[in-house]
């Protein structure tokens, strides 16, 4: 019970901190002081206090977009185990639900974007649809590999099963999986080299351009949902890459939090040392991720 409460508490409170850590890392690389770690929280609070403007050409879909996105991401957060602790909810086959909750949220984000009738948002939706199609197979290959390794179809046993012992026996497969999933982590969360979350150039955006017309609390929900998505996918990745477990529950929670912050620093470093890819190059990298994940599946099935 205590673990479930900590799980829900972390899922609610910690996600924006990751964005703060990423921004601080990037600032350090650029020789700036940077915004405070808590800036994303302030931003969300500020937006929540604002009024909303809704275009008269939009329908309920536009308003439903942010809420559905947040709801699906929040449910996904309940399915994924954090650190060595199993998730509050799990059942056989919840990995399929996990994968398609993101798809549902994305569908509503794209539908809400198309609802505005703006050419920018149409372009953003087209890009998002294209790239998410290419990202999805990687996630499934990863899930197949993990279920093969653990013999389960539920996320909690699948991910908690990963340990240094599993790494010793299936090092090559897991290494490729880590590579593929890191690419997917960056792509799904619209980080450099796929998308630049800080840009103001509407013609180059992917995710940001789809939410240009949202304002006030709706935008706050979108920002929070995006942070939560980073947190949830990051938790998945941390299981693969840093499978620490001590057996002491409180120590494990601490290790989980530290691993997540490490991940944020790594993302910040990646964003600092490289430029964005040209949009036509993105599919190539996504396909590379799929191939990595597919080979890891081949290795464990063989």
């Amino acid at each position: 019970m205590a673990n479930s409460i900590i799980h829900i508490f972390l899922a609610l409170v910690m996600p924006p901190l990751l964005l703060g850590v990423i921004a601080k890392t990037k600032a350090a690389f650029a020789g700036r002081v940077g915004a405070p770690f808590l800036q994303p929280y302030y931003d969300i609070l500020r937006l929540l206090h604002k009024g909303s403007v809704f275009s008269t050409t939009t329908t309920w879909i536009f308003r439903a977009g942010p809420i559905v996105t947040l709801a699906t991401t929040a449910v996904a957060a309940m399915l994924i185990p954090f650190g060595a602790h199993p998730s509050p909810f799990s059942f056989q086959g919840d990995m399929i639900l996990y994968a398609y909750l993101f798809a549902l949220g994305r569908f509503f984000t794209m539908a809400a974007a198309l609802d505005t009738g703006s050419s920018f948002e149409g372009m953003g939706s087209a890009r998002e649809a294209t790239y998410s199609c290419l990202a999805e197979p990687t996630l499934f290959f990863a899930l197949i590999t993990l279920s093969r390794l653990s013999g389960s179809y539920s996320l909690s046993p699948m991910l908690v099963n990963i340990s240094f012992g599993v790494w010793l026996n299936n090092g090559a497969a897991l290494l490729m999986l880590v590579g593929g999933m890191f690419i997917i982590l960056l792509a799904e969360n619209c980080r450099i080299p796929f998308d630049d979350p800080t840009t103001h150039l509407e013609l180059t955006m992917i995710h940001e351009v789809m939410v240009l017309d949202h304002s006030g609390p709706a935008l706050a929900i979108i920002h929070y949902a995006a942070a939560l998505k980073l947190f949830v996918l990051g938790a998945f990745f941390v299981h693969l890459a840093l499978p620490y477990a001590t057996g002491n529950p409180y120590l494990d929670w601490g290790l989980f939090i530290i691993s997540m912050l490490e991940l944020a620093v790594v993302i910040g470093i990646v964003e600092s040392v490289m430029a964005r890819l040209r949009l036509i190059r993105i599919p190539q990298l996504l396909v590379a991720a799929t191939i990595l994940a597919a080979f890891s599946t081949l290795l464990v099935i063989r």
Partner: protein, 506 residues
């Protein structure tokens, strides 16, 4: 070969009666011949009169001779358009139509330029469109039809803090077939308000033609005023003007390098350049108290002297500035992901660049060896030359590289000039300007060639003061650079040109 034109040197004046006034056929034939043999149009404008307009064409000869040519003719309500044969004239002819209400017959792209009021009374050619051809952006845009073609309109309100301009993309998926740019949102009527001048305000108007090119435009205006008044700026003043011009180039080029880096999502260089640009702006402030060089250049000399203490301080700051910028930019060149974005993006072929008459770094990146500082030397550049940098790949990479190399040459130049500041006065007393005269001044602003033409009437007042900002030549270059490119590369291409909206709109 002068093609029937009066030839003269940059920064000189001559009586208006010396300008040849051939008949229309000879005029247009000589312009055509000159362009065919490699001359380039610097300025082409009209003065409206009751029957039509008098057209003046100022051309620059091929590099080497350093001569400029001027010719003129009187036309009625229409004149033959040469734009189809010489694309570099197309914008000038549209401008003449808009300002002087005389129609370029057979113009292939007859649209408003700035949606401005004509300089004379009468109705514009676009009065049937909504807004009478006076509301910026209200016009018929080129359209590509088809089920899979879509149109993207950007601006005039942008997401970033930039000037207003309207961009229409005809796209097929992510690929741009055609880009059309509409200007005029910043039109302030500068040329109109200069008629009857010079007044006390004229100098300030010059400094605000394009706020980031204050020194470039002020230099051209001062050259015109000085030659019309028959005075010379002292060597000390000329040197400080040259230093200010190069400081302006440095600050803007460094800002651009940072912005290009920022658009590729590469933050370190972007952040460093933002700060270092400020350091160079502060060096201009050291000279005159204004970061943009306002109040530094005045007809007859400079507004503030540069004493030894300032020169020494500047030398010190230059040294640190050079070290810091070299580190910041080397980061950019050593990041393969940045190079992958810059190379082969936004290519304007050398042939196209020559045809549309690109100027400045954008032209030099296409391998066109043109630089007013060498071709038509003025001020201090008559004594001290800056090597011309050219690129060959014609893409964003070349435009970035040309900027960086120019930064280095400008640093060398300032370093040398600050050490050897000529002694003597810095102001010569201004005298009234000559009547019935014509003066033409070309300077190399950081965006490229700036051309100012002053025509005075019988009382020594401006009958017309024509300003051509480099952006006027180069906006068509940006349109061409986007052909068959990814629409997501537009911001990068745009930054690599970094043209002025207000300099174009005047």
């Amino acid at each position: 070969m002068s093609h029937g034109m009066k030839t003269f040197y940059n920064g000189t004046s001559f009586g208006r009666d010396e300008i040849p006034v051939p008949d229309n056929d000879t005029f247009f034939q000589s312009v055509l011949d000159a362009i065919t043999s490699g001359w380039r149009v610097c300025s082409y404008f009209g003065i409206p009169n009751a029957a039509g307009a008098t057209l003046y064409c100022i051309m620059s000869s091929r590099a080497g001779s350093g001569t400029l040519g001027i010719t003129s003719t009187s036309v009625g309500r229409s004149f033959p358009s040469l734009a189809a044969a010489c694309p570099q004239l197309q914008m000038f002819e549209r401008e003449i139509a808009e300002q002087c209400l005389t129609r370029p017959e057979g113009h292939p792209w007859f649209k408003p330029v700035r949606f401005q009021k004509p300089l004379c009374d009468g109705k514009g050619f676009w009065s049937e469109t909504d807004g009478g051809g006076l509301l910026p952006g209200v016009t018929d845009f080129y359209r590509v039809d088809g089920d899979e073609v879509h149109e993207v309109a950007v601006g005039p309100v942008h997401a970033g803090i930039i000037e207003p301009g309207h961009f229409r993309f005809q796209c097929h998926g992510e690929e741009v077939f055609h880009l059309e740019i509409a200007h005029g949102f910043q039109h302030r009527g500068i040329e109109w308000s200069l008629i009857g001048g010079p007044t006390m305000r004229s100098m300030h108007l010059m400094e605000t033609i394009a706020g980031d090119t204050t020194v470039g435009h002020a230099q051209a205006y001062c050259m015109n005023m000085e030659t019309l008044a028959g005075i010379f700026a002292s060597p000390r003043a000329e040197t400080v003007r040259g230093i200010a011009l190069e400081l302006e180039r440095l600050a803007n080029h460094i800002g651009d390098l940072g912005a290009i880096s920022g658009d590729t999502g590469y933050l370190p260089t972007s952040s460093f350049c933002g700060r270092i640009r400020g350091d160079f702006l502060n060096m201009t402030a050291l000279l005159c108290g204004s970061r943009f060089g306002r109040g530094l250049l005045r007809p007859g000399g400079i507004g503030y002297d540069c004493d030894t203490a300032i020169a020494e301080e500047m030398q010190k700051r230059l040294q640190t500035g050079r070290e810091e910028i070299t580190q910041a930019i080397n980061l950019l060149w050593s990041a393969p992901s940045v190079m992958a974005r810059l190379e082969d993006t936004g290519v304007v072929s050398e042939v196209d660049a020559r045809e549309i008459g690109l100027v400045g770094p954008a032209a030099r990146a296409c391998g066109l060896n043109r630089d007013v500082r060498r071709d038509h030397p003025f001020g201090i550049f008559r004594m001290s030359q800056i090597p011309v940098i050219t690129g060959s790949s014609c893409d964003v990479y070349a435009r970035t590289m040309v900027r960086w190399l120019e930064v280095q040459r400008s640093l060398d130049f300032i370093d040398e000039q600050v050490r050897h500041l000529p002694r003597g006065g810095y102001q010569t007393k201004m005298r009234p300007i000559a009547a019935d005269c014509c003066a033409v001044a070309l300077t190399e602003g950081w965006r490229g060639e700036i051309c100012h033409t002053a025509l005075t009437d019988g009382e020594g007042r401006f009958e017309r003061y024509k300003i051509v900002d480099p952006s006027f030549h180069n906006w068509s270059g940006l349109e061409l650079a986007l052909r068959n490119q990814q629409i997501s590369d537009f911001p990068l291409c745009n930054k690599s040109f970094n043209l002025s909206y207000c300099g174009f709109d005047l």
